[in-house]
């Protein structure tokens, strides 16, 4: 049992400390992705010719990946539901399925990118592609971070300990999903 300061157990604002911290992390991530996507939108509006570049992204891959992330979000919130009921084993299992979803997402991405790079659409071939790889790459890094965190949480959850962390890591994962919800139309649909 980790020696936790008494400070961590207080909850003056009525929101548990761990969850409050996740909200603040999300707040700072909103401006990170917001700045990035805002910059992309400005330049996209400036360069009509990017439509010809973005026509080469695969809407089906993007759509499938959106489905994958939405499903993984479902699994994450079901994990939270299980944790609420005190069922740590079930929560841990559902978290692992969520991680699997993240893995599928990354695999599809890898295949997508391989295909696009082989077709000649590299990060330097056009500024559209520079943004494409960078933004999706930064998102993918957040996916990986989420997968790692969920794995760590699933270890303690399986022992029915620290179950509140299931919800907290879930909130982070939902945010990763929301970012993709906006990336999908920006990079794949708005052609």
């Amino acid at each position: 049992m980790t020696s936790r300061p008494i400070a961590t157990t207080r909850s003056v604002m009525g929101v548990p400390t761990g969850r409050l911290a996740v909200w603040w992390v999300l707040a700072s991530e909103i401006v990170l992705f917001g700045g990035l996507l805002g910059s992309y939108v400005m330049l996209r509006l400036r360069h009509d010719a990017w439509a010809d570049q973005s026509a080469n992204t695969s809407t089906w891959a993007g759509g499938f990946n959106t489905l994958v992330l939405l499903t993984s979000s479902l699994l994450a919130v079901l994990a939270h539901q299980a944790a609420e009921r005190g069922d740590g084993q079930k929560a841990a299992r559902l978290l692992r399925y969520t991680i699997l979803g993240g893995g599928v997402f990354l695999m599809v991405k890898a295949l997508e990118w391989t295909h696009e790079i082989q077709a000649g659409f590299t990060i330097t071939s056009n500024l559209f592609w520079s943004f494409y790889y960078m933004v999706a790459g930064l998102h993918a890094a957040h996916v990986v971070a989420g997968m790692v965190m969920m794995f760590i949480v699933s270890l303690t959850a399986a022992r029915n300990e620290e179950l509140h962390r299931v919800e907290n890591v879930g909130i982070y994962w939902h945010f990763v999903d929301v970012v993709w919800i906006f990336l999908f139309p920006l990079l794949y649909i708005a052609k």
Binding site: M13, W23, S28, G34, D52, S73, N160
Partner: protein
Amino acid sequence: MTVLTPHTRADAPHHDQTNYVAIWGVLCALLGISIVGPMFGVRLLTLVTAFGIAIVKAYIVCAYFMHLKIEKKWVAYILGFMLALMLVFFGGTAPDVLERDGQQWRKTYVEPATLGGER
């Protein structure tokens, strides 16, 4: 030993009865519409289905999966404030970065012609 922080949300029953699968179904349907939308080739329809639906999907995920709907209100205000800041950033930067041409500088970049021919 279960260290489950008690929820201080008055609304949520002790056992969460929400049908998350149904919500997921709605999200998938919306996803489907946003993919089908561009196939009509109508620009306005594409934008509405693509981005309008994205906003709706994001709202649903935030409200129901993240439970923002039953969270303390000020949490949503903090997040909303961050979003508003992004609008400020966009508003202050777009007059410069969105512009293709200017009056006081010579543009050396040649915009490639669009294959589509559209605006």
